[in-house]
């Protein structure tokens, strides 16, 4: 209470202490809050800069929601008012930033936003700094509003960077001009893609090059502060270069600069270089350059004394890993694992597992790696890892025997980890027969080996081993009695754990009662697992948060070139992953549906994994009706079922058109392998050219993806293209086809003309081929206004007062194609009593008349 009294005092010191008290001890006592807010309001309106400053500081320090409600409207006004002092403007900008961070909805965008952008040009660098921070945060949510700030920021930045050290006087920090402001401006630029205006872009490139050049110059001061400030600007510039990812020479220079830092004396710089290189590694331009530093990085891994730096080195190795150096990197990571800090072991295990699986050319190597992993860091091998190895072994016939043998040998070690027992138990249970021929690994020996570990294991492992035993009963009848004895023993049948007891009892019964056939059917070999997104990758993403290093192949796939014409999905991505089978185990992004002959490795795989592109579902019911609806309109929902909604938005100009197809996932589960394909018959393909870009094959639950189709009408056409969508939902495979409403009338341009012109042309087009007439019954109620709207929607101009009979509708227009332009005239005569229409179409080309007549007849 005292504090609130102090706030309203006019004495500066008392006010100051009052505010300090409030900021340190704020609580949600509503009475006090109201009084405090009142005092603050008075101070803000007081026009005394010191008091305003204090008030703003308090709001910024507390930043509670009530304060935001009270002041969010006031502060922008203070910010852009012409007569506010510079220091108050600074505080107001940052205060607004704080309020925006806590309650973004309470800070509405208004016309103050453009004035804030102009603050970037202010004389006072403090104001510019504060404004930049504010704009950076606001621009992340509303990029459109602040687009103009990009060019201003670039010019400001170039002025700073090229200024001599005496220009900026007090803002020069140890011979580095305005480092904080430079860093902030660079951060602001990272909110936007590279500028489109070539002048601005040129300036920015110059700027960045200057910064890179300065790094090469000898330092102006021995102090560490100078180099820190200089390098801070340098690193931020490198982040911007990586973000833009558009200038290859800048990227390569940045990479080289970082490479130099990798061996710098200062640990800080080595750490930051490793971190920046991680992001650089995912850009395709610089990936090769990054790989050249692999020796340095491995060295760092081995010799660094600082654990944080070693951790970064591991991250970088993971990021730069690709087919050529996978084996080397995995080997290095494994050897590091043996001595690694306990806190980071799990992450390294996950990474090694992912890398091993992804880049395994030879699956025996993969099995070895995983088993090594379990041996070295068994405790940290989470469930997902060994599930995955089991899945892979089961799915690949060729590695099963090798896996069985290796596991058998590994189990013979005196002290083996429980995870190894689990993996071993499972694999021997499935594939023990493959090595049973060898006398050293006869069934009995296998069983004894597993059973020797039995009592050392926890309950879930024992349960798994029991299942293995019953599989042995099926595979090796000779050990049946031994196993039955084991199962019969009291320690199993009367085991305290319910699961074990149940399994023992049931398996015992099964082995005694069932005949060999039934046993064989029940205990048949596990079928291959269906393809799923790797749970390991999901787990790693969860651990590291959403900013994980994205892997190179995903980035490559996203960049893959447009599909030119034709409906087939681009096989370009298939080229970047030479082994189709590795790709099929779909890590990260599911592969596009393979077109052409399926890969020959592993016949089993093909059936399970390749989504056959040849089977196109028949047209979905209601597709014809929907199609008809879209003849006269361009936007709406084309198709909808339980899972998927397809919306359309199209625009046409003369003979060109653009259609946006929106696919909405109505469920809460992801769609995988989402492939929309445009299918045109050969005739249609010559007359209508469709260009589209491939769509992200994974659609999240509740999300919408957009596909753009560029359309060009080469010549008139009659058929419509079919849109076929295939995707996986849950475990089922979905296949939907709808007719895509790209019709000839979309390229219709209305033409106004007077009555005489119309009839003149009408007479000109009087030859029988040019006229098509149709008399049909009205399907919809005959309403004049609706009919007029439909005709206009069809694309034709509705001509009033042309036809002597006012009830008739007359229209005219031109169909634009690449090759020709065809003038069209139409007349629709309704007969209300008979509920029928007579539609006459006259154009200079017979096929056009035919098609337009067909289309239009359906509308009424």
């Amino acid at each position: 209470m005292e504090a609130v009294n102090l706030l309203s005092s006019n004495r500066y010191t008392e006010k100051q202490i009052g505010y300090l008290f409030i900021s340190v001890l704020v609580n949600s006592n509503s009475e006090l809050i109201r009084l405090i807010n009142n005092a603050i309001k008075n101070d803000l309106a007081s026009r005394n800069p010191t008091f305003m400053g204090l008030a703003l500081h308090c709001i910024a320090n507390v930043g509670s929601r009530e304060m935001a409600e009270a002041f969010a409207g006031e502060i922008p006004k203070i910010l852009v008012a012409g007569d506010t002092m510079d220091s108050v403007k600074q505080s107001a900008a940052l205060c607004l930033l704080r309020l925006y961070r806590t309650s973004p909805d309470l800070v509405p965008m208004g016309d103050w936003t453009s004035r804030v952008v102009h603050l970037l040009n202010d004389q006072h660098l403090g104001v510019v700094t504060a404004a930049t921070s504010l704009i950076t945060t606001l621009a992340q949510k509303n990029p459109e509003e602040f687009k103009t700030s990009v060019s201003l920021a670039v010019s400001r930045l170039s002025r700073i960077v090229t200024s001599a050290s005496t220009d900026l006087q007090d803002y020069t920090y140890y011979f580095v001009p305005a480092p904080w402001l430079s860093v902030k401006l660079l951060r602001l630029l990272q909110c936007y893609p590279p500028p489109e205006d070539p002048a601005v872009r040129g300036r920015l490139t110059e700027c960045l090059e200057t910064i890179l050049n300065k790094a090469q110059e000898p330092p102006k001061s021995k102090k560490v502060q100078h180099s820190n400030a200089k390098n801070a600007v340098l690193f931020e510039a490198i982040s911007l270069i990586i973000h833009h990812d558009s200038e290859p020479n800048l990227l390569v220079r940045a990479c080289n600069q970082l490479g130099q830092f990798l061996q710098h004396r200062e640990t800080n710089l080595r750490y930051l270089a490793l971190e920046s290189m991680c992001t650089l590694a995912s850009s395709e331009f610089s990936h090769e350059a990054v790989k050249t530093h692999i020796e340095t990085v491995i060295n760092a891994l081995k010799t660094e004394r600082d654990v944080s730096v070693r951790q970064r080195a591991v991250d970088l190795l993971y990021a730069m890993c690709d087919r050529s150096n996978a084996q080397q990197i995995v080997a290095e990571m494994l050897s590091y694992l043996e001595t690694a800090d306990y806190s980071i072991r799990e992450e390294i295990v996950l990474k090694v597992a992912i890398l091993a699986e992804k880049y395994a050319v030879d699956y025996t190597w993969y099995v070895d790696t995983i088993l090594n992993l379990i041996r070295i860091a068994g405790d940290y091998v989470s469930e997902e890892v060994w599930y995955r190895v089991i899945q892979i072994v089961i799915n690949r016939d060729d590695v099963q025997g090798y896996a069985a043998k290796t596991v058998f040998e590994a189990l013979q070690a005196p002290a083996c980890h429980e995870n190894l027992v689990k993996v071993g138990g499972y694999i021997l249970g499935e594939f023990g027969n493959l090595i049973a021929g060898d006398p050293r690994s006869s069934p009995l020996i296998q069983f004894n080996l597993l059973h020797s570990k039995f009592h050392l294991c926890s309950v879930p492992t024992r349960a798994l081993l029991l299942s293995t035993y019953i599989k042995f009963v099926n595979l090796f009848p000779e050990v049946k009695t031994t196993i039955q004895d084991v199962l019969r023993s009291d320690s199993q049948l009367k085991n305290a754990d319910v699961e074990l007891q149940q399994r023992a009892v049931e398996y015992l019964r099964l082995s005694t009662v069932a005949s060999t056939d039934i046993l064989a059917t029940v205990l048949e070999e596990m079928p291959p697992f269906p393809e799923r997104e790797s749970s390991i990758l999901a787990k790693l993403k969860k651990k590291k948060g959403p900013n994980t290093v994205t892997d190179l192949e995903d980035a490559k796939r996203e960049r893959s070139a447009d599909v030119n014409g034709g409906p087939e999905p681009a096989p370009a991505s298939a080229a970047s992953t030479p082994s189709p089978s590795a790709d099929l185990l779909g890590l990260g992004a599911a592969p596009p549906a393979p077109v052409g002959p399926p890969p020959s490795s592993g016949g089993l795989l093909v059936d399970v994994f390749s989504d056959s592109p040849s089977a196109v579902a028949p047209l979905a019911p209601g597709s014809e009706d929907n199609f008809a609806r879209f003849v006269c309109k361009n936007n709406g929902v084309l198709f909808e079922n339980q899972l998927l909604q397809i919306g359309l938005k199209s625009e046409f100009r003369q003979n060109l058109g653009r259609m946006f197809i929106f696919y909405g996932n109505k469920t809460s589960t992801q769609f995988l392998n989402f492939t929309p394909t445009l299918i045109c018959s050969d005739d249609l393909q010559t007359n209508l050219s469709l260009q589209t870009k491939p769509v992200d094959p994974t659609v999240d639950g509740g999300a919408q993806v957009q596909q753009v189709v560029n359309i060009e009408c080469v010549s008139d056409f009659t058929e419509a293209p079919v849109l076929n969508i295939q995707f996986r939902y849950g475990g089922t495979f979905q296949n939907v086809s709808v007719k895509l409403p790209i019709t000839l009338n979309k390229f219709f341009q209305p033409t106004e003309m007077a009555s005489q012109d119309f009839f003149q042309r009408w007479k000109q087009l009087s030859s029988p081929q040019q006229e098509v007439q149709n008399i049909f019954k009205a399907k919809h109620p005959m309403d004049t206004e609706i009919t007029k709207a439909k005709i206009i929607g069809f694309g034709s101009a509705l001509l009033e007062d042309v036809d002597p009979n006012p009830a008739n509708f007359v229209g005219a227009g031109i169909i634009h194609t690449k090759t020709t332009q065809i003038g069209c005239l139409l007349r629709l005569e309704p007969n209300l009593q008979a509920q029928m229409y007579r539609l006459t179409l006259r154009t200079s080309k017979e096929t056009v008349s035919q098609r337009l007549c067909e289309l239009l007849s359906e509308q009424f």
Binding site: V24, T50, N61, Q90, L94, R98, V183, R270, S308
Partner: protein
């Protein structure tokens, strides 16, 4: 910036500035953990480390550790310089600052920090301007004779 802590070699907290809203319990927990982690690091190690989902930038000046927590996308080196700039400001103001100065004049330290950083962002990068603002405030203080209840200051000190 999310928060800034100053603590001694023995782990005693001298200054704490939070730019995010957290409950008291959480603040204490974070402080405890972080102080332990940083004190455990050897002198030659680099100034940055990852902790939970934040980046921690710290520097040791004589007997005091200055520690800042920043978000993932912020620039670490510039934060290091923010710490250095703050130390310079304190140095200029107190004249050859030492830990005792901060202990006995903590409110001044807070005021200087507030002039320099606001809401977690750098407000004013010109050393002159910051010090000028503080001097003006001091001037106002001396000219006006005030009688602030002593109890209020004691409460803040304890907190």
């Amino acid at each position: 910036m999310q928060f800034m802590l100053l603590f001694s070699r023995q782990g005693k907290l001298r200054l704490q500035k939070w730019y995010i809203s957290l409950s008291d319990k959480e603040k204490k927990k974070i402080t405890r953990e972080l102080v332990q982690t940083i004190l455990a690091r050897k002198p030659k190690m680099c100034n940055f480390l990852e902790w939970r989902d934040l980046k921690i930038v710290y520097k040791r000046y004589a007997s005091l550790y200055f520690c800042c927590a920043i978000e993932d996308q912020e620039n670490e080196l510039i934060t290091l310089e923010i710490i250095h700039r703050y130390v310079e400001l304190l140095d200029k103001y107190f004249g050859s600052v030492c830990e005792l100065d901060i202990i006995f004049n903590f409110e001044k330290a807070y005021f200087i920090l507030d002039e320099f950083l606001l809401g977690g962002e750098v407000q004013e990068t010109s050393k002159k301007n910051v010090l000028k603002a503080i001097e003006q405030a001091d001037l106002l203080q001396e000219v006006i004779n005030s009688n602030i209840p002593r109890t209020l200051l004691q409460v803040i000190l304890v907190y």
